[in-house]
């Protein structure tokens, strides 16, 4: 066997080997966005399971008489618009960052945060004005489980945007050339946004 292929169980050899490896060391590309995308596919499957459960319940489990509600559409529709707009503002923040306009990028990030927070506030208002609670019937439970699980995602997203906003300050770790955090948060935000559109469609419109 080639002498260079010896075991490194010998502690003395370890240091020498590390130097050897550093010389021949190839760095590999950044696959974190690919990994995040795979994770979002998995996360999307969780929602898919919830949607499937909701649609099946709706199809085969009739609610007891007198317990069906017409959901108010005004507030959720405003909320949908808020989230859609926030996807555009986040995209703007990303392109500004890549163009080197960090100050402008941070403003767009703040705007996105505000839109996300407004969405959550709207969700809270809806929760407190709805005529049913978590345990009232199957529809009520599924409604809160679906919107709540999505709201949790939005909350996490808002926190992530704030972190990215902080990191994008001058001297922070996000720069026009190093902006993985911003890209990851943006991808995640678009995902949460897309899930809402489906959720809005089947929960409020269908």
């Amino acid at each position: 066997m080639d002498t260079s292929l010896r075991s490194i169980s010998d502690a003395d050899d370890a240091a020498a080997l590390q130097q050897e490896q550093a010389a021949s060391h190839e760095e590999h590309g950044d696959h974190r966005l690919f990994g995040l995308t795979t994770f979002l596919v998995a996360d999307g499957m969780t929602f898919a399971g919830f949607f499937a459960a909701y649609l099946t319940f709706k199809a085969v489990n009739p609610l007891p008489p007198g317990s069906t509600y017409e959901l108010e559409l005004v507030l959720p529709t405003i909320n949908t618009v808020l989230l859609l707009v926030s996807s555009f503002t986040f995209h703007r923040a990303g392109s500004q960052c890549r163009a080197g306009q960090m100050a402008s990028s941070r403003l767009w990030l703040l705007l996105t945060t505000a839109l996300g927070a407004a969405f959550l506030a709207g969700q809270m208002v809806e929760y407190f004005t709805l005529p049913f609670g978590l345990r009232d019937n199957l529809f009520a439970s599924t409604f809160y489980a679906l919107t709540g699980f999505h709201g949790l995602h939005v909350t996490l997203g808002v926190i992530c945007i704030l972190i990215v906003w902080w990191q994008a300050r001058s001297g922070g770790r996000i720069t026009p050339s190093q902006h993985f955090g911003l890209e990851a948060a943006e991808l995640y935000w678009h995902f949460v946004d897309g899930i809402w559109v489906v959720l809005y469609g089947i929960l409020y419109l269908l």
Partner: protein, 555 residues
């Protein structure tokens, strides 16, 4: 943009020697062995629980443990064996150890995520087992946790069970993300997908299943915990809920879970057989396509577990046909393995014995599986010991036999020492006889109507239950030569050299055990991992497709 390699980041902080196996190590080889040893500890615990079950069933009355305890024991046994032994070992242990070698990388794509995925497992396992002592009573509703049973059994134990399975599911998803990224993105330049060793394809397929189906189980268990804690009615018929929806969502994960346990085993056998038969793996491309066919079909067969749950006729028809179709790609793989062995110079060592026993057991389990896919037969044997016999032939006769085969094959790579063949063959004989003695009679018991998950049964079933219990005892004894072998060999085994099997796959083209970054110098480019014992021209012939052979026959 490039990122620095993690082993560069904390020089000197990583413990050396045996201590590194207890650390948050980022080395895929260390993590692989962590999975292996941790999984084996849980295998011993789950095996002891199986011992309790078989001791109880040696007599028709519940005289060894109480009926409630029996339910806790069978729940823990199933959950431990699936989520803490087979899934982590066939995926986490061998996947982590081998995949970076096979793609020509120095580590997995996300080493930190990899370590996190492993370190979720011991706490989850301890949590699960401690529920037996801490919460008064462990979960009693089986590894399926079907409501309304799981809503009426002790709540605390059920919640701990859910928490533990959620942690293990998270670990599994993180692992799956890592494998997909490593196989697809981390391949050494010049290495094409269709040149990868078969285990890479198996892990890619498995990881796709993990990523697509595990989250559905997680969501379902969250809804179930709402039913238990907040008394919502998702799956509670008394509150207007629907138990069948739980079953659909549960089996959407848990049927693919069978493939998550078995596909990596298929991949491992495909690595072991060519080496010891000194022949190329037969039908490489058909093997790849059948793995992917199993992935696709595996996602659309779940309701064959629910033929007695009031499924409508069209659903029964669809799922019967889809399930029967799975036999086709699986059969292709089996004929490929037989053709690989055919005319080979087979070394009949422990690794090959276990692999061949796997083929035998899995064909039997596969045949009963196709039988179970047929609605009329399934209705007859549903919830009987026939099903128990069937799935133990799949997960033990399939996956666990392959884990043992892989242990004998790769132990020299892990340690630089060969396992003792005499002890290995003793282990094999005891396991093979014990396993078949334990589970073959269960088919007969089930056909005659003995229900599963009961501590007491009709005395007419006594004799075959006792045969089964003797088999279980033999299986318990069979772990003794294995443990002796592993410990004695580690201490003073025969040095194996770097490549005792003269294998061609990339993990053998380095020292045993390998250096931290797998190879000193550049990673080797292995484009023909199965080019055994053939002249270059013959190898090309082996690669020909059917239509090429047709054409050459005419000319």
């Amino acid at each position: 943009m490039t990122i620095a390699h993690p082993t560069d980041l904390e020089p000197g902080l990583q413990p050396q020697g045996w201590l590194k196996y207890f650390s948050f190590s980022l080395d895929h080889k260390v993590i692989g062995l962590q999975y292996l040893v941790c999984g084996f500890v849980f295998y011993l615990i789950g095996g002891a629980l199986a011992g309790v079950i078989r001791t109880e069933l040696a007599s028709p009355m519940a005289d060894f443990v109480s009926r409630d305890t029996y339910n806790e024991v069978l729940t823990l046994h199933g959950t431990i064996m699936i989520f803490l032994w087979i899934v982590p070992v066939v995926n986490g242990a061998f996947g982590n150890y081998l995949i970076p070698f096979y793609v020509g990388a120095r580590d997995m794509a996300f080493p930190r995520l990899n370590a996190v995925a492993f370190w979720l497992i011991p706490p989850a396992g301890i949590l699960l087992i401690s529920s037996y002592f801490l919460a008064g009573a462990a979960s009693q509703s089986g590894w399926t946790a079907y409501p309304p049973l799981s809503l009426t059994t002790p709540a605390a134990g059920q919640i701990v069970w859910i928490l533990s399975v959620l942690l293990l599911g998270g670990s599994s998803i993180f692992g799956g993300i890592n494998f997909i990224a490593t196989v697809l993105k981390l391949r050494r330049p010049g290495l094409k997908l269709m040149q990868l060793p078969m285990f890479c394809w198996a892990m890619l397929g498995t990881s796709i299943l993990v990523v697509l189906s595990t989250p559905v189980l997680a969501g379902t268990l969250i809804l179930l915990s709402f039913d238990i804690i907040a008394h919502t009615g998702f799956f509670n018929p008394q509150l207007g809920g629907n138990v069948v929806v739980y079953q659909h969502l549960f089996w959407f994960y848990s049927h693919p879970a069978v493939y998550i346990m078995v596909l990596p085993a298929f991949g491992l056998v495909s690595e072991i057989l060519p080496v010891h038969a000194r022949k190329p793996l037969f039908g490489y491309s058909t093997m790849v396509y059948s793995i992917m066919a199993i992935v696709v079909l595996g996602l659309i067969v779940w309701a064959h577990h629910m033929f007695t749950s009031g499924t409508p006729p069209w659903m029964r028809l669809f799922f019967t046909i889809a399930t029967s179709f799975i036999a086709v790609p699986t059969g292709i793989k089996f004929f490929n393995w037989l053709a690989t062995l055919w005319g080979g110079k087979i070394a009949l060592n422990s690794a090959v014995l276990f692999s061949c026993a796997f083929i035998f057991n899995f064909v039997f389990g596969g045949i009963t599986g196709v039988a179970l896919a047929q609605v009329p037969f399934d209705i007859h044997v549903h919830d009987t010991y026939f099903v128990v016999g069937h799935f133990h032939y799949i997960v033990y006769g399939g996956s666990v036999f392959v884990i043992f085969a892989s242990l004998y094959h790769w132990y020299p790579k892990f340690t630089g020492r060969l396992l003792n063949e005499d002890l290995g063959r003793l282990h094999f004989v005891l396991t093979f006889i014990g396993f078949n003695l334990c589970f073959a009679p269960q088919h007969w018991l089930g056909l005659n109507g003995m229900p599963r998950r009961v501590a007491e049964y009709d005395p007419a079933f006594t004799i075959w239950n006792q045969v089964s219990s003797v088999g279980a005892l033999l299986m318990a004894i069979s772990t003794i030569p294995l443990l002796l072998n592993v410990v004695l060999t580690a201490l003073r085994g025969q040095p194996a050299g770097d490549n005792p099997w003269n294998a061609l796959t990339p993990e053998w083209i380095t020292s045993s055990p390998p250096p931290v970054e797998n190879w000193i110098g550049e990673a080797p480019l292995v484009t023909e991992p199965y080019g055994y014992g053939v002249e270059p021209g013959t190898l090309e012939l082996n690669r020909l497709r059917g239509q090429d052979l047709w054409a050459s026959g005419k000319s």
